[in-house]
């Protein structure tokens, strides 16, 4: 099909919830108090590593209507919040409440009352005595101190990945270059703080409403701890005020479901910003060494990684993430031999977890900063070096991962370099003595689902064409704000010819929508989108067949219409007749099991001006080039990219969750934790390369996560080029830049 003849694909259809959102009528969980619900607030530990010596709830419980559950009441089952399917065997080290607080913000008790205010007042009356132990805040010594934090005897969680002859590669190398690079612990900063509602329903069903990313994963976690069948847990995805991975792992869901089940009352848990910062999840900080063996011509022979990943207080999905980082290392450049060693340690800080890119921003920031510094030291042109080593279309992933697919990363780099004026602007400029301007870029890749990884990836949907010609796509979608439901409606509309405004796409409800691996792994457009396309085709086929039987004449489907003997049939009328006369409803079901998992690619360019006295960095120009196969909705794609840039600049320059040596968080709200705001955001340019990815709906592939992956490295590379510095400890705060400038002078 010629792209230009699409009705909906690539078009800027207005998202279905936009009108409600601009009117303030789109309600989040905390906007709608549930009748007769107890509102719960969590009594959080003020200490980083402490055991509860005693807890006295008598005064608080004396207030009428107050209910308190503490760590003394909980089931002893340990779980891992990053496990989203039975049997994944993520090491369990977390309980829903705890008498051993392992970070400031750890959950000691749940205090409930009919209003949040009353619950907070009651919480202030609970007296807790702690036995304080030393905080674990330094990655390098965390493994040795593990015993003070956890009683399970695990010092660290190791993982490795190796292929090719790494020793041969390094011994044959003309050059061996290495760098040590650190990426920060970052707050997701979804504007909606965390909340969850659990309601006991008849038939021993617990209904949980949560703005989450994997309803079936939430269901699994609750079943595991409460020891009740999956069928008795109904998880409904609630309206979501942003997540960025922060709401991917279960955080308060299990606790809330347990409390509601125990008290036989609806329980709603709400948090403030400080509570969300301290007690939910963060991006995992990573620190480590990358070493590259290169031949005389600048071809990569091999690469070694030795990385330490900070899981925070509990392991969570951080081991998964550490392995994922290693898997991503072989999918950008042709690396004949690779050795990746990762070590996950637990520290007495807020637990890490999934965060937009799931390790990609960390691993590619590390390699792309390293690649630039290496090129500078060896005298290689950073563009030329990369062009030589970047993967070409349909190359194999040498680590054994899925084929790379229709890779367009070389085109991204070439078109970007030309459009950005790379050659013309390569020489740094100095103005008024202290303002240093330089450019930088970074390449990256990210996946499209779980195919050919250790995790299962499939989606099951049904499309029902109704008797008025409208349609419902029953799908387990999690709308995060990215526009996924509208994009899927565009796909359905394109296939069926049904007007997008008449298509409803459901979100996930474990009781009524079919299985889907969840909104993770950048799989939604590539896997769920393709499932939507295929189920639409199945529905159209069914409709055509039924119409043929109804009319006893050949009916075909052409360009969005049912046609019989050259005459166009109206869809609604035809469905009505089929239902009345044939007693058949037009509802097709399809289970899509992807057989491909290609890579998406992006190359970002930045021009920055660094004030060497204030250490402040201004981004003058920014260009993002993405290989996305096909934009389903170009405006949505651009929106993802702009947002990804905002998040990446933060990670490069100012966002971090620092702790003092006692494990006290230095940033507890947005006064100290600064996100990039409007005045500091550049007006970015975007180039989309749309060459159609096989296996994706109309050739589409992922964009939401990858859009933030190359940003930090592009900015850091620009700063390093501007100053001639070798900064590798992110974020590049003003103080670090000023210090680097002082060191350069020496």
């Amino acid at each position: 099909m010629d792209k230009r003849s699409y009705n909906y694909i690539g078009k800027n259809i207005i998202r279905c919830d936009a009108a409600d959102k601009v009117q303030g009528r789109f309600l989040y969980l905390s906007d709608e108090p549930f009748p007769n619900a107890l509102v719960g607030v969590i009594l959080m530990s003020p200490h980083a590593n402490a055991t509860v010596r005693s807890i006295d709830v008598s005064e608080a419980i004396g207030i009428e209507g107050v209910e308190i559950l503490t760590y003394l009441d909980i089931p002893s089952v340990k779980y891992n919040s990053g496990e989203w399917f039975p049997g994944q065997e993520d090491f369990p080290d977390e309980t829903i409440l705890t008498g051993h607080a392992r970070h400031v913000g750890d959950r000691i008790a749940l205090v409930m009352a009919e209003t949040e205010e009353k619950a907070r007042k009651a919480r202030d009356l609970v007296r807790v005595e702690y036995e304080i132990m030393p905080a674990v805040t330094v990655l390098e010594t965390a493994a040795d101190m593990a015993g003070t934090l956890h009683e399970d005897g695990e010092k660290s969680f190791e993982g490795s990945l190796c292929y090719g002859d790494i020793d041969q590669a390094f011994s044959a190398a003309a050059y061996i270059e290495s760098d040590t690079i650190a990426t920060p612990k970052v707050h997701h900063a979804a504007m909606e703080t965390h909340s969850v509602l659990a309601i006991p329903r008849p038939g021993n069903v617990i209904e949980v409403r949560t703005p989450c990313q994997i309803t079936f994963g939430v269901q699994h976690s609750i079943a595991q701890v409460l020891k009740i069948p999956l069928s008795k847990i109904r998880v409904i995805k609630a309206n979501m005020g942003g997540t960025f991975g922060g709401k991917q792992e279960v955080v308060f869901e299990v606790l809330c479901a347990w409390a509601a089940n125990k008290l036989k009352r609806p329980v709603f848990i709400n948090t403030t910003r400080e509570e969300t910062i301290l007690s939910t999840r963060t991006r995992a900080a990573v620190k480590g060494k990358v070493e590259t063996a290169v031949d005389a011509e600048g071809l990569i022979l091999g690469r070694r990684f030795e990385l330490t990943v900070d899981a925070g207080a509990y392991l969570t999905g951080t081991k998964k993430l550490m392995i994922a980082m290693g898997k991503k290392a072989s999918r950008l450049y042709r690396i004949p031999a690779l050795s990746y060693t990762g070590s996950v340690v637990r520290t007495s800080t807020t637990p890490a977890g999934a965060c937009r890119g799931y390790g990609s921003p960390q691993i590619h920031t590390i390699t792309e900063i390293h690649t630039d510094l290496m090129c500078r030291r060896l005298g290689f042109d950073p563009v030329g070096f990369r062009l030589k080593n970047l993967l070409k279309e349909f190359e194999e992933d040498l680590s054994g991962g899925a084929n790379i697919g229709k890779a367009r990363v070389i085109e991204c780099l070439k078109r970007g370099a030309e459009s950005f004026g790379w050659e013309e602007n390569i020489t740094p400029k100095v103005s008024r003595g202290r303002f240093f301007t330089g450019i930088g870029f970074a390449c990256c890749t990210h996946g499209n689902g779980y195919y050919k990884t250790k995790y299962h990836d499939f989606s099951n949907m049904s499309l029902k064409i109704l008797e008025d010609g409208s349609a419902i796509l029953r799908a387990s979608i999690h709308e995060l704000g990215s526009g996924a439901t509208t994009a899927l409606a565009q796909i359905v509309g394109e296939v069926t010819g049904i007007d997008v405004s008449k298509i409803t796409v459901t979100e996930t409800d474990t009781q009524f929508t079919s299985y889907d691996s969840g909104c993770q792994a950048s799989r939604v457009i590539y896997v769920c989108g393709e499932c939507a396309r295929l189920v639409s085709e199945a529905a159209v086929k069914m409709l055509t067949q039924e119409a043929s039987k109804l009319l006893d004449k050949p009916v075909r489907f052409s360009q969005g219409s049912l046609v019989c003997e050259g005459k166009r049939l109206e869809i609604g009328g035809t469905v009505r007749e089929i239902m009345k006369k044939r007693r058949v409803s037009i509802e097709a079901n399809f289970e899509h099991r992807p057989e491909m998992n290609p890579a998406s690619f992006g190359v970002h360019f930045a021009e920055v001006t660094v004030d060497k006295l204030t250490g402040l960095v201004k981004i003058n120009r920014y260009l993002a080039v993405h290989d996305i196969g096909q934009a389903i909705n170009e405006s949505f794609v651009r929106g993802q990219i702009y947002g990804g840039i905002q998040m990446g600049i933060g990670m490069a320059l100012c966002e971090e969750l620092p702790y003092d040596s006692n494990g006290m968080p230095k940033a507890r709200n947005f006064d100290k934790y600064h996100l990039i705001n409007a005045p500091d955001m550049p007006d970015s340019e975007i180039i989309l390369i749309e060459d159609g990815e096989p296996g994706g709906p109309f050739g589409a592939k992922s964009i939401g996560e990858i859009s933030t992956v190359p940003v930090s490295a592009a900015i850091v590379n620009a700063v390093n080029r501007a100053l001639g510095s070798s900064l590798t400890d992110l974020p590049l705060t003003p103080a670090k830049i000023v210090e680097a400038v002082a060191d350069l002078k020496k």
Partner: protein, 176 residues
């Protein structure tokens, strides 16, 4: 302190808690309320008046999600004492529509795809409203400054700034 000696504030005592009676205009309508001393405007709006379009993102005046207009000027309702709104005029996003028609800013936010998760949207629109009341044809830089106190994690602000620019152009066209 007994009632009557309290300046011009009327106090009532309900189960040991002192409430202040206030009267304010919200979205054009006169409203009366009893508020506690350290009650915030956002609590009054959300809990007592049901205006849940006003979102709480930080509770510290740092994110702007709770922005409303007080006498035409943008304020963070999470750091305004409710009692100080006595006699004042409050406008939330709920009060923007006229005769069932969206405000030009709301329509521009839809048309420019300036909305993603939507949580910052009502506050963002109110900051834009305050700007356009004072300055109907702002530059992109002036828009950035006006929105500096409104944090958005989804959009990178670009489409939001485009939307405010578009709204300003549309207002300009109407006036011509």
């Amino acid at each position: 302190m007994n009632e009557g000696s309290n300046g011009n504030k009327e106090l009532t005592m309900i189960v040991g808690v002192i409430f202040l009676k206030i009267e304010l205009k919200v979205n054009g309508k006169l409203r009366r309320a009893e508020v506690e001393a350290s009650e915030r405007l956002i609590d009054l709006l959300r809990q007592k008046l049901g205006l849940v379009s006003v979102k709480e993102g930080c509770g510290a005046g740092e994110c702007g999600a709770c922005t409303v207009l007080m006498d035409g000027e943008a304020v963070c309702s999470c750091v305004v004492p409710a009692f100080q709104t006595d006699g004042h005029d409050i406008l939330t996003v709920d009060g923007l529509e006229e005769n069932g028609e969206l405000d030009v800013i709301q329509q521009s936010f839809i048309d420019c795809d300036a909305v993603q998760c939507g949580f910052c949207t009502p506050g963002m629109i109110m900051s834009a409203k305050a700007l356009l009341i004072k300055n109907p044809s702002p530059s992109r830089e002036e828009i950035r400054t006006a929105l500096a106190g409104n944090i958005c994690r989804c959009t990178g602000y670009t489409q939001i700034i485009n939307a405010v620019e578009t709204a300003a152009e549309r207002i300009g066209e109407c006036r011509r």
